[in-house]
């Protein structure tokens, strides 16, 4: 068992991280702090999840969101997708293992992965609407969000959702407000089986290694850690019993990365585009300097007068 995050003191404490710890800020350049904070991570052990949705309830309660009462369409997923009011969602998959012919009930807690290289932040046009702290947390700052939806296009995991009420984007904050005062995320606190644990990233990797050894000894030869390198690693990681095929867990992407289309849009297009516009303007200016204005001459006017039958000028 991984020791849970202890309850903090009841005395007010200053936040452990803040604006001075930003390593990335959308549509802005920041000077990263000299000292990076210890990276934190949440580890979700899919093999230990019982699908009770306590994490969802805890998330709703802590973040004070009010998801709409849904309808039952014959599946366990509730609500049916992430929403601006539901930052985390248990996704249930009934998977038949072709090797054993056993039905496996795969339950994955979906939500923001807190990528080390966040696609949402890269795509965001609003200064300071998306920030990344040096401990790895990627957070949305709602007062700076303009609701354009570019983060949705940037995200390799299809996580952010735009509220039709506030017209700003929402996702899991990793409970940055709780972590700032020494607590763990609400979902981890509520999880009855320790399928969700929270600590430093190194601790989580170490804990995961123990779990993977245990799973392998129980016949899950492909058990492994999901910490995808394509996005520089994540600060929410999974222990999967079938780590060789993450896509069976309700479409968890195998080797996710920021879409090359988004990279092209936010990379070469941005610079080449302004260069092309600047070149067009400069070419016009240079042409005017060299060639001068193209003026209608007196002879042109006389020719037109002659054509229309006017008497020639004296």
């Amino acid at each position: 068992m991984f020791p849970p995050v202890p309850n903090p003191t009841t005395q007010p404490v200053p936040p452990k991280f803040g604006d001075q710890d930003l390593i990335r800020r959308s549509a802005s350049t920041v000077t990263p702090p000299a000292q990076r904070q210890t990276e934190v991570a949440k580890l979700i052990d899919v093999s230990k999840c019982i699908g009770c949705k306590a994490c969802q309830s805890a998330c709703i309660e802590w973040n004070d969101t009010h998801p709409e009462i849904g309808i039952n369409t014959g599946v366990y997923d509730n609500p049916h997708d992430l929403t601006p009011d539901m930052f985390t969602l248990m996704r249930f998959t009934e998977w038949e293992n072709p090797e054993t012919n056993n039905l496996e009930w795969l339950i994955r807690k979906d939500g923001c992965m807190h990528c080390e290289d966040p696609g949402c932040l890269k795509a965001c046009p609003a200064p300071g609407a998306i920030v990344q702290y040096s401990n790895g947390i990627v957070d949305f700052i709602h007062e700076n969000c303009i609701g354009c939806g570019y983060c949705i296009k940037g995200c390799p995991f299809n996580i952010p959702r735009i509220s039709q009420v506030t017209h700003t984007a929402y996702k899991c904050t990793l409970c940055s407000d709780r972590i700032a005062v020494g607590q763990g995320p609400a979902c981890a606190k509520a999880c009855p089986t320790q399928a969700i644990v929270f600590g430093t990233k190194d601790e989580m990797k170490e804990h995961a290694a123990g779990r993977i050894t245990d799973l392998k000894s129980r016949g899950f030869a492909n058990a492994g850690l999901y910490d995808p390198p394509g996005v520089g690693g994540t600060h929410v990681m999974y222990v999967l019993h079938h780590a060789d095929k993450p896509e069976i867990y309700a479409g968890l992407p195998n080797n996710p990365r920021i879409s090359p289309i988004v990279e092209a849009w936010k990379g070469v297009t941005k610079y080449a585009g302004l260069a092309v516009i600047g070149f067009a303007a400069a070419a016009g200016f240079m042409h005017y300097l060299v060639a001068g204005p193209n003026r209608v001459s007196e002879e042109d006017e006389e020719a037109a007068e002659k054509l229309t039958g006017e008497e020639p000028r004296p």
């Binding site: 046009p125 200064p127 303009i146 988004v262 193209n294 037109a304």
Partner: protein, 231 residues
């Protein structure tokens, strides 16, 4: 009438010293300026969301969220406004044989040697290029723009389609802004042009120098009208 393909409604010659030639009706001019203002506002609000260094331009529109709200609506206005221009101007912008020759002698165009150029109708090949490229780009921009108008249309396309749309939208917008720069520069460079879109007329000398075929057609039409009034 086959030779008069490029004579538009309201085009006529007024003899005098100097000769004046009506080029754009009041309707066409109002239509043009609505399009022009929309395009400038779209470029400013679009650039604000395109490059972080230009985000300050959102201040012109009342902040980031208002820029995000207003940009697509101006786009809709521009689309319909430009569609009006398209209906007015498309016929006179059809490609003619002399346009190829004109384009082949682009060096003479840029160095002001108009005497070496073929006589052209109401629009030269450069103006036709501006017209057709803007027409095509605006179709691309409105289509991709609707795809990324998340507030109303997010459910109709996949995220992958939206990614393509946002990239194509940005590239098309850069092309449109560049074409617009060419358009505005040409109007400034070729003196006597801007009054065509303000007061609606140009001088006979301007028409003779730059659009002689069109002038000849108008004069021919006027004299034909005089000789056979009962037609």
């Amino acid at each position: 009438m086959s030779t008069d393909y490029d004579v538009e409604k309201g085009d006529s010659v007024h003899p005098g010293k100097p000769v004046t030639v009506d080029r754009y009706t009041a309707g066409a001019r109002v239509n043009h300026w609505i399009t022009a203002i929309s395009l400038v506002l779209l470029a400013l609000s679009g650039l604000a969301l395109f490059h972080p260094r230009l985000f300050f331009l959102t201040g012109l529109f009342g902040g980031g969220p208002l820029t995000r709200i207003i940009h697509p609506w101006i786009g809709v206005l521009l689309f319909f406004s430009f569609f009006g221009l398209f209906l007015r101007f498309w016929k006179a912008n059809l490609w003619k044989r002399e346009d190829g020759t004109w384009l082949a002698r682009i060096r003479d165009v840029l160095t002001g040697h108009e005497e070496r150029l073929p006589e052209v109708g109401k629009y030269n090949a450069g103006q036709k290029f501006v017209f057709w490229s803007m027409s095509a780009l605006i179709i691309v921009l409105i289509t991709t723009g609707l795809i990324i108008w998340d507030q109303y249309f997010s459910v109709f396309t996949t995220i992958e389609q939206k990614r393509w749309a946002v990239l194509i939208h940005a590239i098309a917008a850069i092309c449109a802004i560049s074409v617009w720069i060419i358009h505005v520069y040409a109007a400034i460079w070729v003196r006597g042009t801007i009054r065509a879109m303000t007061r609606g007329s140009v001088t006979g000398g301007w028409a003779w120098r730059h659009h002689r075929k069109w002038l000849r057609e108008l004069v021919g039409k006027a004299s034909k009208g005089k000789s056979t009034p009962a037609e």
